[in-house]
């Protein structure tokens, strides 16, 4: 079917999406919750990339942060606690044509879903992952999470938490097949946007840990970081972040880091103060599991019939002299 040029242009215009096309329900997060900033950045990204809402799926687990898909106007899958990754993998395997995002909390990803997290890195399926790391269980009202700092007083650790925090960056960087790791903070929206955008453009499992404020349960946690820009270490590189002059003026603590250098990435990732922000690692060469497995093949009924008949042939006992001549033993 051919279409006159004017109509094509009209259609293009119609198909172009605005911010409202991605705005779903009104967010019910606490005011000042870092999740709001992440939502804003993602909606902007969808608009800028002109993602088709019907071909985009946001997958999450359970937690405050996992409410995320409800606030998008795309397809969403708000599943169960800890299992966002395998659900997203199944979606991607069945439908590699869909754009898949995963929103997960530090409890969801690093505690109950930790096994899936490790394997999701290995599978390296093409999806953009946002770890909303608020260092606490928000939805269930203030229990220690694996990323809570030691000594953190919560409802389950009233005398302070007992263990050192798990570092999601070094863990991710330690897994075979890791292909993209970045860190962002919710309170620098421009950089947050740039990093999520870089993650989206990377083909593979793009893991972004976002340090996310939870004013409800950890109101003072990141105060000093907000007050002192020197406590944020911006990673810059021609292949990484390029900063606007204004940002460069505020965040003077900068480090040139080549994201292809995994050893250096691991070193930087282990630093907690200042917080490294930027792209730590990127390797576009790691194969994606859905490609390795040839996902998304079209199967016609004829294709299935022929395959099934061939399999049945292997197990068939033919009546004497009725064996089909063409059958290859």
């Amino acid at each position: 079917m051919t279409m006159p040029v004017t109509q094509c242009l009209l259609k293009l215009h119609e198909d172009h999406h605005n911010l409202e096309d991605y705005q779903g329900g009104v967010p019910r997060w606490c005011s000042g919750c870092g999740d709001n900033a992440i939502l804003a950045a993602v909606q902007r990204l969808c608009r800028d990339e002109d993602l088709s809402p019907e071909r985009t799926v946001f997958v999450s687990g359970i937690g405050c942060s996992s409410r995320f898909p409800h606030y998008m106007k795309t397809y969403g899958f708000h599943g169960i606690h800890g299992r966002a990754f395998p659900v997203a993998e199944g979606i991607k395997m069945a439908r590699p044509d869909l754009t898949v995002f995963v929103n997960t909390g530090d409890g969801d990803c690093c505690s109950i879903g930790a096994g899936h997290w490790i394997h999701a890195i290995r599978y390296n399926m093409n999806m953009t992952v946002m770890l909303h790391d608020n260092h606490v269980y928000g939805l269930t009202k203030k229990q220690a999470s694996p990323t809570s700092p030691i000594g953190f007083k919560s409802n389950t650790t009233p005398r302070g938490s007992y263990l050192n925090a798990l570092n999601p960056l070094t863990v991710t960087l330690g897994v075979q097949n890791v292909s993209f790791v970045a860190q962002a903070v919710d309170w620098v929206p421009e950089v947050l946007y740039d990093i999520i955008s870089a993650a989206y453009h990377h083909r593979g499992f793009s893991f972004v840990r976002i340090i996310q404020r939870c004013p409800e349960f950890l109101p003072k946690m990141f105060e000093s970081w907000l007050a002192d820009p020197q406590k944020t270490l911006l990673l810059t590189h021609a292949n990484g972040l390029t900063l606007t002059p204004e940002l460069s003026r505020t965040y003077k603590n900068q480090l040139a880091h080549d994201p292809s250098n995994i050893d250096r990435a691991r070193e930087i990732a282990s630093g907690e103060d200042p917080i490294p922000v930027g792209i730590l690692y990127r390797n576009p060469e790691v194969p994606c599991y859905e490609d390795v497995r040839h996902a998304g093949q079209m199967r016609t009924p004829e294709h299935i019939r022929v395959g099934l008949e061939a399999e049945l042939d292997r197990f068939t006992v033919w009546p004497k002299n009725a064996e089909p001549a063409q059958r290859a033993v």
Binding site: Y75, F77, I80, P86, V87, M298, V317, K320
Partner: protein
Amino acid sequence: MNETMTMAPAASAGRRPAPGASPNEAVTLAEHIVEVISDSGEGAQRCGQSLGVIAAKMGNGIWTTEIIPAEIQPPARSVAGASGIRIRMGSGKVTNGGDETDLVVAFNEQALLGRVHAGELKAGCTILLESMWRGHRDPKIVASYVETVELLHKGGFRVYEVPLEDACSKLVADSRRGKNMFVLGILCSIYSLDLDLARDQIAVTFGKKDAKVITVSQGLLDAGHAWAETNLDFKYRIPVVPVTEPLIVVNGNTALGLGVLASGMDICAMYPITPATSTSHYLSECFERIGGLVHQAEDEIAACAFAVGASYAGKCAVTITSGPGYSLKQEVIGLAIMAEIPLVVINVQRGGPSTGQPTKAEQSDLLASCFGSHGDAPKVVMAVSGIEDCFYAVITARKIAEIFNTVVVLLSDANLATAQQPFPRPQFTEDWLAPPVDQTPVPAGALPYDWDSITGIARRFVPGQPGGMHTLTGLAHDRASHVAYDPTTNEEGLRNRSLKLAALQKTLKTPSVFGDPEGDLLIVGWGSTRGAIEEAVARARVDGLKVSSLHLTFLQPMASGIREILHRFKRVMTIEMNWSDRSEDELIDEDNRRYSALALMLRSRFLVDIDCWSEARGQPIKPATICRVIREKLSS
């Protein structure tokens, strides 16, 4: 039926093969049960499987059952190491493994003892025993061998010592690996099977290997046959009904795999677990060739979630597991039910609880399947009762899952997993297949959970459909898929998810009664026990007992008409392979007795005083055992 019983038990126990002895006319038998027993790795199973196929080709009914050692790496020549296969051959259709064994070929006396101790050999059973151990250089082995043979003689068994090693070493370098084909030759001679068919079967079995392997194996076959012809003084013939249509010979797990292919499902997600895994092995080998895919996930939770994700975005997917894996999947199954995502879950049951008995058959996951997953989680539960059923049930399960947007649990068990029984080659039709993924625009104003007021069914919106965008959730939700905590919406969701089972139930046919429609006793069963129950009922009816049986494929929902059937019998009893309290135990009374699963379900639904008899011995219930139970029940 049981003509084998007329076979004379060892008149002169302890015969040696008589060189030159030519058997008289072959004795005609209605059926016979043969076992080939060895240490694992000696090819007994391949021998038995070939024997089964050859007999099937000739027109015998067969049922083969694998004998799996109790330990993973049992020491050689040990009682616990008995590995092998049992083949029941009959002149008509064979629906189960039958009672005790009539003839056994054993590669060593210890593995054989394993079978004797298990009570698996019929009194007077014929034993062909590898005689090499008599001349072994280790005097302990010689002593053990001699002592065992002595014991067997005394026990009334008809023992033939056969120089397997000796004969085979003349033909092959590694006689340990060639014996099985020599034994196949012996068995072909004993059961008067067509040697040409056997040669062809060897060519098929070793088709992937080089021609030399085939020639050598055929040589061993011929040698075994010749040896038996000259050295054995008996021969049987089981009348055949010539095969007129192509038959499929596979075990239950392969049949499940073929069913997955035929259902048009694209994705199977699994985590290895016995006894379900061989289905995935089979699928891994062939599924990709026709555009499907097996994903081995990091655990069963992930496998189930992966399948749910795949179903949500495309066609209904399947996840396959056994007991412990089924437990792990429960939460995700609940999600699929709540969010109304089609999903097929195959559970090849094994002994439980916990790690239980991985290689043994049990029917103890029925209640977990029907009522498992927290909250009210209505799902469809079906059970397969034979090998052919394994194939077609997957196709049905996929259809139901997709029509009703719900979870269908398909129960098989370790018994069917490895049992082989021929069935007519299926004739493919396109309506077995899943329809293509709907990508048409959703009409304006349509809602993702627009439940039909009568059936509770709602059309599913799939990613990619313009206008269908919504966020699916495992939280209580309204028709727009918005999270809703108000009591009315909550009940609306519960009502509609529950109604779907009723809607399916209205389409189910009343299962037919085996035997008269009324009588003194009705036996009710489900799953793999069907063949044994019906055989037992048939035997009891020949003896004049007014007993019938009913076998359920749909356990949830149950078809209409069952209530009326139950009421037409004076007594009703389930027979199941799971645990139920024994009334003779001191503490057990009507107030605390735990009934077996199906009995519990039937009692609660139909308010009929249904008794149960169950056994959890890890192996298929024998028809003779059921006959005894029937008699006891009728005389109590």
